[in-house]
């Protein structure tokens, strides 16, 4: 197999892998906090679930970039043309922003979501504010997604 194809595959894998790691950690943390609050007040389940979901988007962004790389580089069709090493490196690098932007932002968004869930426990009417605070962190995952996407599309 051509080195380029291997590198492009690595690019897709890295994007899904690390962004997924981040989301798994973030959603996991928020889930623990949510379970604590719901055990005290089951009516808060809806609000808490929304908060728990917020750090989950990074994983989806990673998946998105992974699939776009796979489609663009023809990894999903057997017997596609081999990719040159240079293009392979470019795919790999293009996957990096969402891989690491997603990883770190999801973990921190998870922490903010935890704090937000604690806020819901104390002041249920303020859940919107907690949501907005968590969303502030996600901004950087979105910027990473944007650049990853533009880079992949730019490879042509």
């Amino acid at each position: 197999m051509e080195l380029g194809t291997i590198l492009a595959t690595a690019g897709a894998a890295v994007a899904v892998l690390f962004a997924g790691f981040g989301s798994a950690i973030g959603v996991g943390m928020a889930g623990q906090a949510a379970a604590g609050v719901v055990s005290e007040d089951p009516d808060r389940f809806g609000n808490c679930l929304v908060m728990q979901l917020l750090p989950g988007t990074q994983g989806i962004y990673g998946l998105l970039i992974g699939i776009v790389i796979a489609l663009r580089a023809g990894l999903m069709t057997a017997g596609a043309d081999a990719i040159t090493t240079e293009l392979g490196v470019r795919y790999l690098i293009a996957g990096m922003p969402i891989a690491f932007g997603g990883l770190v932002s999801a973990i921190y968004q998870g922490k903010v979501a935890c704090a937000g869930i604690n806020m819901i426990a104390k002041r249920p009417t303020e859940s919107g504010k907690g949501m907005v605070m968590a969303i502030m962190v996600e901004t950087y995952a979105i910027l990473a997604l944007l650049i990853s996407f533009l880079l992949v599309i730019g490879i042509g």
Binding site: T57, I60, V68, V132, I142, L146
Partner: protein, 657 residues
């Protein structure tokens, strides 16, 4: 717009107090200010007490209430007189449920005790004589307890003691007998080894008999608890009754609390409160309907009195007040941002989802929810916001060419390519641009909308400043920024467009003056921003400091890139789901294709619902963020407090008029 509030003073006879408060509560227009010193009252306490008991009973029987079908509205509509009648009947139910709960608690405690006793007795089971027979007599003394393994031998070897070990374990149960004369010596010896005393329960039975009896009792208790549980379950269908009573009690509680806030003399009372300016007349008419012995005065609030913040908008805009409330209520003397935010919210929300299929689904879903569940308050507002958002999403979907992730370019195989081909034959789909191929243009569109959004924010504040006669702030702080932003954008449009791979030719007669306008804006800020600083040095640094905010403006513009990124996320993930199902449908043989088709249909429904749900959440919160930070940051004064009139604040029912 913000509704002005009036301060109300009402004096009337004590004899009419209850009827007046009832009437005011019915129309729900007056927020009562607590002006009395005495806290609480017997009636309030009684109501609170009843409320507590009702909620306890409700919690106990809630799991056993009949399941409500999906098609029942959130709150059922009931007349006030009906739920008042329910209060007495509910009292019987709470009494019954409370008795049951109490009995159950007693039984559970007894069960615990018996189980503990049994556990303690188990090691003594081999003892074959009544427990009461082992007690000190004139000649023999007994020690009953557990001996540690290591001291067992030592104990057995003592000749003046007669020891019987009932079991061989780490802590062996043992009965030690000695003659009364040796009691002291024996006691000292036992103290010297590892020994734990045990006392038999008072009983003439052997331990095994006693254990059998305990088991029987535990079984009885279990049966009794089961019986009680069945009775509690049978109360499940009375949940509705209790809910009615709870709401009736809540209404009464609010009124009692209002009474506590009034100032009383022997025969009259004084009520101080807030009333919306547009409801003053209704309020007075209502009072007139009850009595003609009253004094009703309204006046504008004094400077030291902070009125609650109330906004009033038309039917389209009103639901978006909930989005604003999520951030903060407006300052009562500030601007209500809702009418300005609404069109941008609808526009930007649609751009973030931008898929015709999802948009139609979302709009129909939200409308159905409103129709069936009749939600009020926050959920009512948000479902209407989503209905508008869905409509906008559907329209944007046509502009950017996406229908459940299917675009004009074939990408997913099978049936999806047939649909793509159909779109292609239509020739107009997308109407505008395809974000997958025209990424830069799409990005430019998003940031362009962002600039429009932000500039509107500056203008709203500028107009408000002019209205208040503060032309300095309007020109130097607000319009100067509009000049800079618009001047730079227009002045450098060809350059920016070139970077985005587009052509935008503006004649120099337009771009040159635009740059001068921007420079003029800069000049205004440098010269006048620090105008309130006391010293010359402060004046200059104030202006330069403000100019540094250009980085903030720039980052705000870039923040609108999320519109594009989230739009892509929805579309591409939808497309990926289609591709996966497309693969399933293209099986090698016909049976495989049929099977694949069936599985695909189920999968498609699930996957697209998931995609729609997660991206709707994303669009809702990110769109809200763009309003709060990038838009409201430019003009909105937050910090109003909610208006809480004396009204029917019910949880489970909607009082019919």
């Amino acid at each position: 717009m913000i509704v002005p509030m009036k301060r109300l003073s009402l004096i009337a006879l004590k004899a009419d107090e209850e009827r007046l408060l009832e009437a005011l509560q019915r129309i729900g227009t007056v927020e009562i200010i607590d002006i009395s010193e005495d806290a609480g009252g017997a009636r309030l306490e009684a109501a609170q007490n009843r409320m507590q008991r009702l909620s306890d009973s409700m919690e106990a029987i809630k799991p056993f209430a009949p399941k409500k079908s999906f098609f029942t509205p959130q709150k059922r509509e009931v007349a006030l007189s009906d739920i008042r009648a329910d209060v007495d009947r509910a009292a019987d139910v709470t009494d019954a449920v409370e008795t049951l709960l109490h009995e159950k608690a007693t039984l559970v405690a007894e069960r615990e005790k018996k189980l503990q006793l049994r556990t303690d007795l188990l090691p003594w089971e081999p003892l074959n004589q009544p427990m009461s027979s082992i007690r000190n007599t004139k000649r023999v003394c007994y020690f009953i307890g557990f001996c540690a393994q290591k001291d067992r031998q030592k104990l057995a070897e003592q000749e003046f003691l007669e020891t019987e070990f009932l079991e061989d374990s780490a802590n062996s149960p043992a009965i030690v007998a000695c003659s009364a004369a040796d009691f002291r010596v024996a006691q000292n010896f036992i103290k010297s080894i590892e020994w734990t005393d045990y006392a038999f329960p008072k009983s003439d039975r052997t331990p095994s008999e006693e254990i059998r009896l305990l088991n029987k009792r535990v079984e009885e208790i279990d049966r009794a608890i089961e019986d009680i549980d069945k009775q509690i379950v049978s109360h499940g269908e009375q949940l509705e009754l209790l809910e009615n009573a709870a709401d009736a009690t809540a209404i009464e509680m609010d009124r009692s609390e209002a009474t506590c806030g009034l100032k009383h003399t022997n025969s009259a009372f004084l009520l101080e409160g807030w009333v919306r300016e547009d409801r003053v007349e209704v309020t007075e008419d209502t009072i007139k309907g009850v009595t003609d012995a009253y004094s009703f005065e309204v006046r504008d609030p004094n400077e030291d009195e902070i009125p609650p913040s109330v906004v009033r908008n038309n039917k389209v805009v009103a639901p978006f007040e909930e989005v604003q409330t999520l951030y903060s209520r407006p300052d009562p003397y500030g601007i209500d941002g809702t009418p300005y935010m609404t069109p941008f919210y609808i526009l930007l929300f649609g751009l973030m989802l931008s898929d015709t299929g999802y948009g139609i689904l979302l709009a129909l879903g939200a409308l159905a929810y409103i129709k069936i569940k009749k939600p009020t308050g926050m959920s009512g507002g948000i479902s209407r916001v989503l209905a508008w958002g869905g409509l906008s999403t559907a329209i944007w979907g046509i502009f950017v060419g996406s229908f459940f992730g299917i675009s004009r370019t074939p990408a997913s195989g099978a049936i999806f390519d047939v649909i793509s081909a159909f779109f292609d034959r239509l020739g107009i789909f997308p109407v505008w641009l395809d974000p997958m191929t025209d990424s830069m243009q799409m990005l430019a569109l998003c940031m362009g909308l962002g600039i429009l959004h932000m500039v509107s924010g500056y203008l709203i504040n500028a107009i408000d400043c002019f209205r208040r006669g503060d032309w300095k702030t309007a020109i130097f702080d607000e319009l100067s920024w509009v000049m800079i932003i618009l001047g730079l954008v227009i002045g450098f449009l060809p350059t920016i467009a070139g970077m985005a791979g587009m052509e935008a030719n503006l004649p120099e007669t337009v771009t040159k003056p635009a740059v001068y306008v921007a420079l003029f804006g800069v000049l205004l800020i440098v010269l006048f921003k620090g105008r309130n600083a006391p010293k010359f040095f402060g004046k200059i640094t104030g202006g330069l400091g403000e100019l540094y905010n250009i980085t903030g403006v720039l980052s705000d513009v870039l923040s609108y890139a999320r519109l594009f990124a989230l739009g892509i996320a929805t579309g591409v993930i939808g497309q990926v789901f289609n591709t996966l199902c497309g693969m399933l449908m293209q099986g090698k043989s016909l049976p495989m294709q049929i099977l694949g088709g069936i599985v695909s249909i189920i999968l498609l429904i699930l996957l697209h619902t998931f995609n729609l749900a997660i991206n709707t959440l994303g669009a809702f919160v990110h769109c809200a963020r763009l309003q709060y930070v990038e838009f409201y940051g430019r003009f909105y004064q937050a910090g109003g407090r909610a208006f809480r009139p004396l009204a029917y604040n019910t949880k489970h029912i909607q009082v019919t008029k």
